[in-house]
Symmetry: C2
Subunit: 314 residues, 2 copies
Amino acid sequence: MDRATVESLRGGNSRAVARAISAVERGGVEAREVIAALFRYTGRAHVIGVTGAPGTGKSTLVNEIAKLYRRRGHRLGIVAVDPTSPFTGGAILGDRLRMQDLAGDDGVFIRSMATRGNLGGLASATSDTIKVLDAAGFAIVLVETVGAGQSEVDIAKNAHTTLVVDAPGLGDDIQAIKAGILEIADILIVNKADHDDANSTVAALEMNLNLKPKAENDWRPPVLKTIAIQGEGIADAVEWIGKHRAYLESNHLLESRERARLRAELELVAQRELMTRLVRGVNGSKIEALVEKMAAREMDVYQAVEKLIGDTHS
Amino acid sequence: MDRATVESLRGGNSRAVARAISAVERGGVEAREVIAALFRYTGRAHVIGVTGAPGTGKSTLVNEIAKLYRRRGHRLGIVAVDPTSPFTGGAILGDRLRMQDLAGDDGVFIRSMATRGNLGGLASATSDTIKVLDAAGFAIVLVETVGAGQSEVDIAKNAHTTLVVDAPGLGDDIQAIKAGILEIADILIVNKADHDDANSTVAALEMNLNLKPKAENDWRPPVLKTIAIQGEGIADAVEWIGKHRAYLESNHLLESRERARLRAELELVAQRELMTRLVRGVNGSKIEALVEKMAAREMDVYQAVEKLIGDTHS
């Protein structure tokens, strides 16, 4: 990345930002060059993760939060991550359509990302995209995931503040998903709060929070009600995001979260790099021969791995 | 694993099976020993993956399919994988309750598995659990996932036949999930077929299938209707599972699927092993020093990885 491109990107030029993000999505040498040029300018953005089960209306919520920040004059980036679409791109088109009232606004940069068969690759690309937006001077980066599971955990690792969105009237499976992601929430939001069962959803979440033992100075996630589609409750949510940020700062937790995040990133990238080197260092017929032995039940997977890794060291 | 335990497990003793599965879940040396003892007895079971978005009723469907196989005298294992529960176990209790009419039947073995913060670990444990059930002589192993995303892809890699369950009247996000997992389906099931919109869901799926170019001898996934909660359509689903198995056999695809599966498993386990060795080979303060440099923006993650991996080789 040449000096002029870096300066243009830091000035918030959206073409330069878009190109840099495309490069980190492609990965490899291109991603390395972009990050090498930009990493020194990162560390200023407040990264806000928004996650929750399908059907909770979190895209609408992200949209409304973004609009409120814009009215207050903040520049912001939105990264919509879709780990549920391993094969086909474009699955989150519906969500993006809902965001069209933000399009054409230079103070907002929106990017959708999907896995292409590799969760680790998506996690790296998301993490690098946040860095690009951070370096480009976006004070706030909203990271939304569609889906459930490991992706939420990865988001929580990237975010300073994590919003978990719930809604009344979802089915059993959804409740199961909820159980897993509650624990990463800094702020809980019951969206679609005009629904009849909203208060019982709030009560269930409060009860769940009460079950967890807390030290005196621990952050207790508030449970907020919103009707995102009507813009209700958004100002309150944004106020709580600010409160959480202040809590992190006054307790020196920004630094420790940042270090934990960097450590996780280091491990992830190291793991992928080791695998790349292994595959490069071993010829294909060696791997095929091991697969044949496994198929014949002469060797199990652990024995085959021992053979494979042993060989690259000799 | 001693000879007597292996024999007891191969005879289908459910305590021996349960202990072996607990060992593979703990991973490490224990998992290696179990697999080393049992791998030679695997390769006989028909592994059937069942997946789909939350709210489609796939647990009920799995339950009904299992009951039908039991009535026909087959012994079977059910593995319910919950990648959406990274932190807490027990999230799928609701699903297990629905299966209580199968409990106490020696011809059925049911096991629930949840991630504990590590998708790779869950994939290995699931794969090894299938091997244990296979070695224990269960002719059919049903593997169900709650959730969406990468987990479905991993399931498809383990299964000979993959059922993707859909239902009418789900929301936008659910449709997005569907787009990703349609491509791994051998059999498509529209459950809750008594719902008004069932026929339009079937039509949408058929249309989607028609979009994909197929060679002459390719398998075309049937789109079946079920009302699992009333047991309707189950016999038809089971018949199609048999047809798919026959198709795989007559086209010599069982072998090629098995090899692809073994290759993916080899890569997964090799990756985890390399990482374990790396972490073991580097002292912790080295990693902390790199994290500090990253935090100070003196080094980006790619440079830190270069430093980390370079050091273990010297």
